[in-house]
Amino acid sequence: MSPAIIEFHNVVKSFGQQRVLDDVTVSFESGKTTVIAGGSGQGKSVTLKLILGLLSPDSGEILVNGRDITRMKLRELNKIREKFGVLFQGAALLDSMTVFENVALPLRERTKYKSQEIAQRVRQMLAQFNLEGHEDKFPAQLSGGMKKRAGLARALMLQPDIMLFDEPTTGLDPQITMDIYRLFFTSQKQFGYTSIIVSHDIPKVFNLADQVVLLKKGKMMTFSSPEDIPLSSEPEIVSFATETMGHIYSSRKMEHNI
């Protein structure tokens, strides 16, 4: 088992009367791909925002590389954030900037590279993500898939240790979804990052997973592989698996029982 790179200890997060995370303890292993699955409004995106320090928990600890980010000053937190890359649901490219400027932004803001070197690195990255010839376009002029590719290129510019994906394939057609997954595979192989993926795209996204975390009613349940989910002793989890993962996975349970 790999060491944990991110750990939640007894994390509680509520919005008004609604308790989104209820005394959650979970760890995300270094170098692995963890898929966080669960229904809408169960707190998947909140979990990502807690990891990034964009939200603070009501109680509990969140450790990144063993350091509690909930008690950090902004300057220290920013140092930790430099280790992260994030692909947002809508890619979150800055509207007023071109694709080139968006992808160059982390280098311009966080490094001391000269503009020529930045341009060279950005062009290299854009070529890798099949965005050559689109450098001067604005995000509004891009298709959904191109936006995601540009968002991924920007997230990887500083070669992060941890990549967070918030619904990376939502709203994309099946072919572009497969392109994004292929890019995920190649980029993870190249950069060797730990990844946490929040997705509705079940069971397809489970093909990427080394570990699955299910979120239900504020609780998180960890499974060492997607195949273990239908084998759960809890009927609610089994019904979730049957509903979302279909017969392939439910038949494994039958095989197991035989």
Partner: protein, 262 residues
């Protein structure tokens, strides 16, 4: 009865929290001035958007405000046989009150609403979250250039408003209604003192800060504004709120500064 008290208490607590949030927002935006790297080009771009692009609208508002002042002032002063005081009346009204107030209201409507909508959309589409995730300070990057640009532009636009407004008063009073031009100029020279100009400048700086603070702040917190809703509707309500609050704040502070400095 208990429910009414609960609602009042809840609203009061929300107001206190909102004021606290806005106070910290103002501090962070001002601290952004001293953070490096300084975004010089973006600040200049904002000066163009907020300041330079407002000259046209300010020109029309100011010339007609001056002409109306000239017209109204002429008929009022004629009753007392004091048409010669027209220059003084127009200049003092513009420099002390109307110049700073109307310029601030015009900048609120033209640039303040745009700033609020822009930042609100960036918040809703997670662009501000993306900046934070890249360890880029969103205040230094987004908000501070707007603060600086407004604080630089509004006093300049106010002085432009005053000059064009006085010219409008001259057109209406001297050219159209036949007031003696010498008396018009003399009235201005005799009555306008440095304190009047200073009062106008102080007002324009304070109004600039209020307008940019409220407009960018409402956009920045669009996701947690009570009753604002989500998405496009949330941004539209936040923008309405920003314009209304800025306008009210400008008028209240106009009274306060006048009361303190006069």
């Amino acid at each position: 009865m208990i429910s009414l008290i609960t609602k009042l208490g809840d609203s009061f607590l929300y107001m206190v929290r909102d004021l606290g949030r806005m106070g910290l927002f103002l501090l962070s935006a001002l601290m952004g001035i001293f953070s490096r790297p300084f975004r010089f080009r973006e600040t200049v771009r904002q000066i163009q958007i907020i300041g330079a692009n407002s000259f046209g609208v300010i020109f029309f508002i100011s010339i007609f405000t001056g002409m109306v002042l000239g017209l109204q002032g002429y008929y009022t002063l004629r009753k007392f046989g004091s048409e010669g005081m027209l220059g003084s009346a127009v200049a003092l009204s513009l420099i002390r009150e109307l110049g700073p107030v109307l310029t601030a209201l015009m900048v609120t409507g033209r640039a303040g609403s745009a700033m609020c909508a822009e930042i609100g959309i960036m918040r809703n589409s997670e662009q501000i979250d993306a900046l934070e995730c890249m360890a880029v300070n969103p205040f230094r990057y987004l908000i501070t250039p707007k603060f600086l640009a407004t604080i630089i532009s509004l006093p300049i636009l106010t002085q432009f408003f005053n000059v064009i407004g006085i010219a409008g008063g001259y057109v209406a009073g001297v050219i159209l209604l036949g007031v003696n031009p010498g008396a018009f100029y003399n009235g201005i020279e005799q009555s306008v003192v440095t304190e009047d100009i200073n009062l106008g400048i102080v007002k324009s700086f304070v109004f600039a800060l209020l307008v940019v603070w409220i407009c960018t702040g409402r956009g920045y917190f669009v996701h947690i504004l009570r009753n604002a809703g989500f998405g496009a509707e949330g941004v539209s309500r936040a923008t309405t709120q920003a314009v209304v609050l800025s306008s009210i704040a400008v008028l209240i502070w106009d009274y306060l500064i006048t009361a303190i400095m006069l």
